[in-house]
């Protein structure tokens, strides 16, 4: 993520003191401009393929999958620690809310596909909720992830639980855009904090539609747009200042966490994503937030739960 040119400031403008633009949006913009150098030179070439975003960078579509895989290979071993550090443990509340909304096991055992499920946070919560609230030991979760290191972390975590070596849990490597699963097979499809990393969201949604049974639920937990301007300013400051530094300090990896916060900004806002879910064929609630709506904001829009049903 470094610029193509290296400028010797003393040589060109010795009177200039090096100070960053102090306003956050200017910094974001200039950072985005700096990153875009590589992207623009390739997208202006008529022979290059379609481009997409990787955080604030513009890259070729076929590169994104490998780059995302690389990011998650780097972060896998410290993934859970970093989630706790960055969100100060709040991600646990969000995931608990997500499961409380879905109530897996309430209407009998469910066959669930947890996509981008990596370290198994959602899978474990689904199985525990079914077991503790409904005495359900027939619910199954298949965890699917593109990254083998993340799956290995999930497998290791599940070894410490009672679900290890039971048919209730399985881990497979796969691509959300091209699932190697039969159609009309699952009751519940969950994807938590994973869909923004996928190259083509419409492809993921149409695959989700295909593998769900009629009556099945699609549920997505993802970072989203914060509408409140005060909260938004604080959130931006925190995202762009603290999170990459936490990555540097705890995981020696600034770049992956810089990608993380940039990819959040690139994800479509709540209404647009709800529309994309409807375009894939799902039925959602009304185009508003809250009870009966297509989405539910958590913490003012920092995270958001979108739901759709295949009729």
């Amino acid at each position: 993520m470094h610029p193509v040119r290296r400028l010797s400031l003393r040589a060109t403008q010795p009177w200039r003191s090096l100070r960053r633009p102090s306003c956050q949006s200017c910094r974001n913009y200039s950072q985005a401009e700096a990153e875009r150098t590589v992207g623009e030179s390739s997208s202006s070439n008529p022979r290059s393929g379609r481009t997409t975003h990787f955080g604030f960078q513009t890259i070729l579509e076929e590169q994104k999958e490998n780059m995302v895989k690389g990011v998650f290979s780097n972060v896998a071993s410290k993934y859970d620690l970093m989630n706790d550090a960055m969100s100060l443990g709040v991600h646990r509340l969000w995931k608990d809310d997500f499961i409380d909304e879905l109530k897996p096991g309430k209407k009998g055992p469910v066959k669930c596909l947890d996509v981008a499920g990596g370290t198994g946070d959602i899978a474990l919560r689904i199985l525990d909720h079914a077991r503790e609230t409904y005495a359900d030991r027939e619910t199954t979760v298949e965890v699917l992830d593109i990254n083998p290191e993340m799956l290995a972390e999930g497998y290791k975590r599940f070894k410490k639980t009672m679900y290890h070596n039971t048919p209730q849990i399985s881990f497979t490597e796969g691509n959300a855009q091209k699932l190697d699963k039969p159609s009309n097979h699952f009751d519940l499809y969950t994807i938590a904090f994973g869909i923004r990393n996928c190259t083509s969201i419409p492809d993921v949604l149409s695959e989700a539609y295909r593998v769900l049974k009629p009556g099945g639920t699609f549920a997505c937990l993802e970072f989203s747009k914060v509408t409140n301007p005060v909260l938004s300013t604080v959130y931006d400051q925190y995202s762009f200042s603290v999170i990459p530094l936490l990555g540097t300090i705890l995981a020696s990896d600034r770049a992956s966490y810089q990608y993380l916060v940039e990819s959040i900004r690139k994800f479509p806002p709540q209404e647009d994503f709800a529309r994309m879910i409807r375009d894939a064929g799902f039925s959602t609630g009304g185009d508003f937030e809250g009870k009966g709506g297509a989405w539910m904001d958590l913490w003012g829009g920092v995270a958001c739960i979108h739901r759709g049903v295949k009729l």
């Binding site: 400028l7 400031l9 100070r19 306003c23 700096a34 603290v242 705890l250």
Partner: protein, 277 residues
């Protein structure tokens, strides 16, 4: 929206040539060199505290020690740069900006030098400790490129200081060397390491450190010439004794050398295999 933001927005909507000029100004004020990560004062403080805690908890995190040094450097780096400008040798270093790593230092040629030269002593020291010149983290958090180079030079010359004072790499001697560097160069990070490093030692090691090595380090470091101004790469053939006399350094009390770490053994085997061919 602040003034420069409005200007930025206007410029971005203007013609592409103006936009490129604005982008160049923005790029040059954001990223001064490869690997530069600009920080505002809050981020700087956060990183200073975080890296201090992390470096103390896990001293093998070289990147955290480096980050601590950069975030706390403050006015010490301009002072060091001025010391370099005051001497002819220092000015030459600033002009040529030599780097120290295994591609710029010809280890084979140095091990062929006669016994008693500085170059030979350096290679011997590297082998004895089991380290290579490649382990230094690049500078990220210093905004001025020249000061960033001074910081990089200090970091890369640290091994030369080890060699000229005949100190091995275990914690006691690293801390003693930090006292020496503090007396000689004055960087705040050396003071922080000197203050908190001894916490990781046993009381016996601490007693030896403060009884024997620290008095030597402070006296010798304080009276010696500023080592940042020494162009070490031009002194490979110089006799070590003569070099020490010129710089005003005398030997510390005898050090206890441990078994070497493995990285240099691997590098030495590769080197001797290359000479045999």
């Amino acid at each position: 929206m602040q003034g420069h933001c409005q200007r930025a927005l206007k410029l971005s909507l203007a013609s592409s040539s103006k936009r490129n000029a604005w982008r160049q100004r923005c790029m040059s004020s954001v990223l001064a060199y490869d690997g530069h990560i600009p920080l505002n004062w809050m981020e700087n403080t956060f990183l200073a505290v975080g890296s201090a805690v992390m470096a103390l908890a896990d001293p093998r995190r070289g990147d955290m020690v480096a980050a601590l040094g950069e975030t706390t450097a403050g006015p010490a780096l301009p002072r060091l740069r001025d010391r370099m400008l005051e001497s002819a040798e220092g000015r030459q270093i600033l002009k040529e900006r030599p780097r120290v790593n295994s591609s710029t230092v010809d280890m084979k040629a140095l091990s062929g030098l006669p016994e008693g030269t500085f170059g030979r002593a350096y290679v011997t020291w590297l082998d004895r400790c089991g380290v290579t010149p490649d382990t230094r983290e690049p500078v990220h958090y210093i905004d001025d490129p020249e000061l960033a180079y001074v910081m990089q030079r200090y970091r890369e010359c640290h091994d030369f200081y080890h060699c000229i004072t005949s100190m091995p790499v275990s914690v006691t001697y690293e801390v003693a060397l930090k006292y020496f560097e503090f007396a000689n160069l004055g960087l705040p990070m050396t003071a922080i390491s000197a203050a908190f490093g001894p916490l990781r030692l046993t009381s016996a090691q601490r007693a030896r450190l403060f009884g024997e090595y620290v008095p030597w380090a402070l006296k010798c470091g304080g009276s010696a010439r500023s080592l940042i101004t020494v162009y070490w790469e031009k002194r490979w053939e110089q006799d070590v004794g003569e070099l020490k006399r010129e710089l005003g350094i005398w030997d510390p009390p005898e050090a206890k050398w441990r078994k070497p770490l493995s990285e240099a053994r691997v590098a030495a085997e590769k080197r001797s295999a290359a000479t045999l061919q």
